[in-house]
Symmetry: C2
Subunit: 138 residues, 2 copies
């Protein structure tokens, strides 16, 4: 399951997606509207900014906004930044690969199945975007 932090990230990003092209939105506004703990949200938004999904402006009239179009931010990207690997096992992760201890990759049937599962999941998560989230509301 995704962490609450990741769920918060999605809610915040969906909020910002609705404001794409408009003025920046303050953290406090997002926290209030989306009911996310303020200081926790601060951490999340900075992380998203550090990977260039968001941009920020300080001082009066400042806040956060999406750096790129909601159509170009897919769900897999967000999950990887905030939550980590999408694959079910480290040995099948594309972005966070680690060798399984005491298991031989060549002959491992578990691994082969988990590759199939991963590809099936990724097919959805890499195709669906923030834009799909906000249009799905209707």
């Amino acid at each position: 399951m995704l962490s609450k932090k990741t769920q918060y990230a999605f809610r915040a990003l969906a909020h910002l997606a609705l404001n794409y092209g408009k003025d920046p939105v303050r953290i406090s506004t997002i926290a209030l509207k989306e009911k996310i703990p303020l200081k926790f949200l601060e951490n999340i938004l900075v992380e998203l900014k550090n990977v260039d999904l968001l941009e920020s402006k300080k001082g009066k009239g400042g806040g956060y906004s999406l750096k790129i179009s909601p159509k170009k931010i897919n769900l897999a990207t967000v999950i990887r930044v905030i939550n980590g690997p999408i694959a079910l096992l480290p040995c099948v992760s594309l972005n966070f690969y680690e060798k399984c201890t005491d298991c031989d990759e060549e002959t491992c049937g578990i691994r082969k199945m988990m590759i199939i599962a991963r590809d099936s999941t990724l097919k959805v998560l890499e195709k669906k975007t923030l834009n799909d989230i906000i249009i799905a509301k209707d």
Copy 2:
């Protein structure tokens, strides 16, 4: 990601699948061959027994064996028993549903996307079985 415990469970089950129809296998044998901590493995096997995937025999000549055919044990079942929910959010879990706090299910676009992702993942995990794991070795 799946816990190490779940990965151990799969390794043990794959081992037992290869012995399906034969004599029961001792915990200590599985622990040794699959390199799983013995006492930890005990816990795992008891859990799998409690949901009727395994059967056990005590005393000399005893051990564990699959209670049903490896073709009838799918990966989703194993994951749910040892690891918990497969869905990415509590609000889209079929077997471990919980309401999201501060999020309205009717209008939530995040939820709608995660349902699609869940179905895609389940399509694989519910179709693939222990038998697929052991034949995939070749």
